[in-house]
């Protein structure tokens, strides 16, 4: 945690200094980001959805959203977008209190979320800067087809790289990119080991709330960096040591070693009341052993690693494989696999109003996973960064009822 804090603080300091240092700034999105490529050109990435969620964790999102709605943005649409636009219009002070620089380029990787496209059209109005578009075809047939892979690689080669060359004045250096991809693969290997530690009892990690901290560097500016690789090596060692000591994860209720319920969670968390939300679970002795949200910035546990031997092809594979780019049957398979492999007592779908990419179809997912695993699911609703939609009493009530139901099933004689 401390290492990560320092890494982030340093990154935001560099961003604040960018107008003076001349380091180019590229705004892009977490799913399908091309961090290795961007950084191989010496550019600094900014992730608007991370700024939005961190603004929410610091209690600033309500005012930002109100500011955007006052300017005509609908109450019906994604609160990440409104939070980001509100932040931009309020001086663009980032989550660490430093001012964020204006983007020199908007790198629109359209992966798994239609709203991203609109988001950067809107930001272009705010910043009046160039946009380069990277379309990632959806896995509509449940796989990344060779044609789709070639399409993405071609866009990277013919539009993204030339745009970065124009921006930075540097030529594409494939050797530098390969080195970065190799570091990514190392970090990914360690991250998978961290996730799979939850197979043990007690689980030394919380794979949803805790995972937010584990995935922070690899989902953002540090994938492909030496710092990032070192962070994951250290994290893995720490988690393995906790496992040896048979310790549970640190939670808002303390170290959760007495784990009464092992749960799988689908959907992003609520950020405005993140700690309260987590505490609802940890107070009940519920630990999350696997989650899908921790895969939005990359799905590594089924074998994918960035491959330095095929730099552009591997970036295409990475983009296409991010969780929200996977079709519903694939998401159902993944959840059912988690429930069975991690021997979960139940699974919770946290459905957020803001995100149709996640939320539309989740009730069907619920029924399908129940049908395939025989494990009952629970369905909670709130939002990402709009505090108006977080109802703690309602969520607590639902969680308690759900866990009681799991308890009752345990006591019931086997049929």
């Amino acid at each position: 945690m401390e290492i990560q804090k320092e890494m982030l603080a340093e990154h935001f300091r560099r961003l604040e200094d960018a107008p003076k240092s001349g380091e180019p700034v590229v705004y892009t999105f977490v799913p399908g980001n091309l961090n290795e490529l961007v950084r191989s050109f010496g550019a600094l990435p900014v992730f608007p959805e991370i700024n939005a969620l961190q603004s929410a964790m610091r209690g600033k999102s309500a005012a930002y959203i109100a500011s955007a709605e006052k300017a005509g943005h609908s109450e019906d649409v994604c609160s990440y977008v409104k939070c980001d636009i509100g932040m931009a219009r309020s001086g663009n002070v980032g989550p660490t209190g430093t001012r964020l620089p204006r983007p020199d380029l908007l790198l629109l990787s359209y992966t798994g979320c239609y709203t991203f496209m609109k988001w950067f059209e809107l930001l272009r109005e705010e910043y009046d800067c160039p946009v380069v578009f990277l379309q990632i075809p959806y896995q509509g047939d449940g796989s990344i087809t060779p044609g789709h892979r070639a399409y993405v690689a071609r866009q990277i080669r013919e539009t993204v790289i030339p745009a970065l060359e124009r921006l930075t004045g540097q030529s594409y250096d494939e050797g530098r990119l390969r080195e970065s991809l190799a570091r990514s693969a190392r970090a990914e290997e360690d991250l998978v080991a961290v996730f799979e530690s939850a197979l043990q009892r007690p689980s030394p990690i919380d794979a949803y709330f805790g995972a937010v901290y584990y995935v922070g560097p690899i989902f953002s500016a540090f994938r492909g960096t030496e710092q990032g690789a070192e962070y994951y090596r250290t994290l893995r060692e720490e988690v393995e040591e906790r496992a040896r000591q048979r310790l549970g994860p640190a939670t808002p209720s303390g170290v959760l070693t007495d784990q009464k319920y092992r749960l799988v969670v689908e959907g992003p968390p609520n950020w405005t009341h993140f700690r309260d939300f987590w505490k609802l679970f940890s107070d009940e002795g519920a630990v999350v052993v696997a989650s899908t949200y921790s895969k939005v910035g990359g799905t590594y546990e089924f074998g994918f690693r960035h491959d330095m031997e095929d730099p552009l092809g591997t970036l295409a594979d990475y983009c296409g494989g991010c969780y929200t780019n996977i079709d519903l049957p694939g998401r159902v398979r993944m959840l059912a696999d988690y429930v069975e492999r991690y021997a979960a007592d139940g699974f919770v779908i946290h459905s957020v109003k803001s995100c149709n990419s996640f939320s539309a179809g989740q009730l069907t997912i619920l029924r399908e996973v129940e049908k395939r695993t025989g494990v009952p699911g629970a369905f909670f609703e709130s939002d990402l960064v709009d505090p108006r939609y977080f109802s703690p009493a309602n969520l607590k009530n639902r969680l308690e009822s759900y866990l009681q139901m799991i308890e009752a099933r345990r006591r019931a004689p086997a049929r």
């Binding site: 300017a71 005509g72 943005h73 609908s74 019906d76 649409v77 994604c78 977008v81 359209y110 979320c113 239609y114 709203t115 496209m117 609109k118 988001w119 059209e121 809107l122 272009r124 109005e125 009046d128 946009v131 578009f133 990277l134 379309q135 075809p137 959806y138 509509g140 047939d141 044609g147 399409y151 071609r154 866009q155 013919e158 539009t159 079709d327 519903l328 049957p329 998401r331 159902v332 459905s351 109003k353 149709n356 990419s357 939320s359 539309a360 179809g361 989740q362 009730l363 069907t364 399908e368 609703e381």
Partner: protein, 396 residues
């Protein structure tokens, strides 16, 4: 009987036919066509755009699935969607779960938004034996890259549908159906031109109903009716009306109830351009008939697709200019932004479009609806006040 009376009768009968066909939630017209030959197949498609010529060239009848509107009671559909998701998918699910779409052998889900995208996955889970395809429309601004991608998608779709229909792929059939689609595009353009020039001759409730009927019948049947309607409407004497000319923007997917369209036009507004059923004219130019038909289709899409919220706008000034350009082309007095509740594409675009309208001095109002909205008084007041304000204070 005079020619004028003949035309009027013909027009009434066409409108009646259209209302009956468009309002038929059992898709009887499509079922009747299928019953004509047991080897026939039909493919449904969701809004906004599906390449109908490719579907027809594979021997299938394209059937637009635009929801149940305000005539369908939702019994099962609400169990599939949370309250903060638009109404369209729940009525589409209702149509399917009640067996009304059982005649379809395939369902196509275009990349309109994440809700329709994910509905394709729901379909795969609910109907594993059906051919289901998600159509990722080309979004990148570089024409060659976009056309190559879309060409590949179209080839896959055509091959799959031909296999489903049990017929070999044929460029000749593709060319024939491209020609038919060019004819359809032409007659729809003429209907829109006539309404623009003389809105009193083409009430939008009639135009919309006619086009909606065209989504569920074989192309020749629609062409015949549309041409007859056009001739009858042209023959109508012009009547001067004290109305303001408006464009309705944002209702390109979930369709407004007919009552809402009537309400707007009975509140002192004439609709002279709109986004209703946009897919039938999204490709704005005729597609070439020589050369490789799939390549021609792909290039025509990339070159001429109309500006809409479902496609990426590559030009920085594009969003800001769009409303002013549409207003000028339609000689409109104002814009009504009418979007379905929770419609991400329309609602995310609205601030940019409205800012462009404001900058160009175009008056506008905005509201939301659902396909099953049943109360229109608030819309009557909004549209009526809007029309009055333009008449009283608008620049002429």
């Amino acid at each position: 009987m005079s020619r004028a009376t003949d035309a009027a009768e013909s027009r009434v009968s066409i409108v009646d036919w259209a209302a009956e066909t468009a309002g038929d939630l059992d898709f009887s017209a499509a079922r009747a066509w299928l019953a004509g030959d047991p080897s026939r197949r039909a493919a449904g498609y969701l809004p906004v755009y599906a390449p109908r010529e490719v579907i027809r060239a594979a021997g299938l009848l394209p059937v637009g699935v635009h929801g149940g509107g305000d005539r369908l009671e939702i019994i099962r559909g609400d169990a599939f969607y949370q309250s903060y998701i638009c109404h369209l998918p729940r009525s589409v699910i209702e149509l399917a779960q009640s067996g009304r779409l059982s005649m379809l052998s395939a369902m196509l889900f275009p990349s309109t938004c994440d809700v329709i995208r994910n509905l394709s996955g729901v379909w795969r889970l609910l109907y594993p034996d059906l051919y289901v395809r998600y159509l990722d429309l080309p979004q990148v601004p570089e024409p060659a890259i976009a056309a190559d991608f879309w060409e590949g998608e179209l080839r896959t779709l055509f091959a799959d549908l031909c296999a489903l229909a049990g017929i070999p792929e044929s460029d000749a059939r593709l060319r024939r159906e491209i020609a038919v689609e060019n004819e359809l595009r032409g007659v729809i353009a003429e209907l829109y031109r006539l309404r623009r020039d003389a809105p009193e001759k083409v009430p939008t409730e009639e135009l919309y109903t006619l086009l909606r009927a065209g989504e569920v019948v074989p192309a020749p049947a629609f062409l015949e009716k549309a041409r007859a309607y056009l001739a009858a409407a042209e023959a109508e004497p012009s009547r001067l009306r004290d109305r303001v000319r408006v464009i309705v923007v944002g209702a390109f997917c979930e369709a407004p109830p007919l009552g809402l369209i009537k309400t707007i036009e009975r509140s002192g507004c004439s609709i002279v351009d709109d986004d209703f059923l946009l897919g039938n004219r999204l490709v704005a130019e005729d597609v070439r008939l020589d050369g490789d038909p799939i390549r021609n289709l792909a290039e025509a899409f990339v070159r001429s697709a109309r500006k809409t919220s479902i496609l990426y706008e590559g030009r920085p000034e594009g969003k800001r200019e769009l409303i002013a350009r549409r207003v000028a082309a339609a000689r409109a007095d104002g814009v009504i932004f009418a979007s379905a509740s929770f419609c991400d594409p329309a609602l995310l675009d609205r601030p940019m479009l409205r800012a462009g309208a404001d900058a160009a001095g175009v008056p506008s109002i905005a509201f939301k609806f659902a396909e099953n909205t049943g109360q229109f008084q608030q819309f009557r007041e909004l549209a009526g006040t809007f029309a009055d304000s333009i008449k009283l204070w608008g620049e002429k």
